[in-house]
Amino acid sequence: MALEKPYKDIPGTTIFDSAKARQGYQLNQFFYSLMRAENRERFLADESAYLNEWNITDDQKQAILDRDYNRVIALGGNIYFFAKLFFTDEISFEIGASMMTGVSQKEYRNMMLAGGRPIDGNRYIEEQE
């Protein structure tokens, strides 16, 4: 019997379940390596060279180089792991989140100050079609 995945119909949301964890193991271990200051320095000095030390796919490398975080998620990245790259880049979680929503940091902050993204209309994918 198949696993139940009732979270698949939540819009704009990828749940980091076992399939994503399987897909993203090496990718997330790369992000985890940025916990160490010397690795952050080596990565920033030559991103491609550092990425080539890791057993990750070319698509995953490109998504990292592009800082395309929605693509990182699609390729198995976990938010708490790739947040290490936000901090390596010295950007806040707020800026990182704004990058995934396609608006400027200012627009994103204003949305949050106004009470955040509303739940109405954001529960089911079908509401947005």
Partner: protein, 280 residues
């Protein structure tokens, strides 16, 4: 004997720690949040607990993808502060209470909840931000802390029901410890927030306030909320709220609500905070 006297629930947003560490607490954006904890700091200074059993989640700091425990208890003497990618927070190391932690481990495992034992690890903002909010910026934390890490990073987290029930097991374990100790249990994380993807920034005040109400008066019913409801209604990271049920499970069925605070936003997150006092 040891007794659990009170429970505290609080969000553990990393930006709150950064605001404190960088002296931004008086800024318009942050001041209302710190004001929400002024009562709590005074109350805690009067209560002077000996030990805090602190339920939190590690954010890919101590645990990478090599090893992912669902429930892990810190039995070590001392826990250092993790470098989460911007250098360690400038806060004191955390002193454990190994005797009580080991006692709880043995008791809870004998009650059929399988725990992972940790002797050495560093703790991240999930544990240190609640300490900062409640104790301010002391040179040393005036309390011993038992870290209790719950997996909410890899789906699925433990269910709300299992969290509530393990809270009850922790209560029985503390009650059976001979030394006379004033123990508090804190549940951290939440409230509604989503950090990832195009729906990032989701906040659901109705859900959050219902959760605060029911945590006080109807925790048993609240424990039945399935994961998907947290994720849909409170954001993908809102599922952290199951950790509050561990705290609630360790308290009496009837509690006094001493303090409540709710504020939007702190960075991407709704901040919620409760102090609950056992009636017995």
């Amino acid at each position: 004997m040891a007794r659990i006297t009170a429970g505290v629930a609080t969000s553990h947003v990393p930006a709150i720690g950064a605001a404190l560490d960088h002296g931004k607490t008086k800024e318009d954006y942050w001041a209302p949040i710190f004001q929400g904890y002024e009562f709590s700091q005074q109350w805690l200074a009067g209560e002077k607990p000996d030990v805090i059993f602190l339920v939190y989640n590690d954010h890919a700091s101590a645990f990478d993808m090599k090893l992912i425990p669902t429930f892990a208890i810190g039995c070590g003497e001392q826990f250092g502060i993790a470098d989460e990618g911007w250098g360690p927070r400038p806060v004191p190391d955390v002193t454990g209470h190994p005797d009580l932690a080991w006692h709880i481990s043995q008791s809870v495992i004998q009650q059929d909840f399988d725990l992972t034992i940790i002797n050495e690890m560093k703790v991240d903002h999930g544990l240190t931000v609640p300490l900062s909010l409640m104790y301010g910026q002391p040179d040393a934390w005036p309390v011993q802390v038992i870290p209790f890490a719950v997996n909410v990073v890899l789906y699925p987290a433990p269910s709300g029901r299992r969290c509530y029930e393990i809270g009850k097991a922790i209560r029985r374990a503390v009650d059976s410890f001979d030394e006379d100790l004033n123990v508090q249990i804190w549940g951290t994380g939440g409230m509604s927030h989503q950090l990832q993807g195009p729906r990032a920034g989701l906040i659901n005040k109705q859900f959050d306030n219902d959760f605060l109400d029911r945590l006080v008066t109807d925790p048993d019913g609240l424990a039945d909320i399935p994961h998907v409801e947290y994720m849909r209604e409170a954001g993908s990271e809102g599922v952290e709220l199951v950790m509050w049920l561990i705290m609630r499970g360790a308290l009496d069925d009837n509690v006094h609500e001493l303090h409540r605070f709710y504020h939007v936003p702190a960075s991407n997150t709704a901040v919620g905070h409760l102090i609950l006092k056992n009636s017995s």
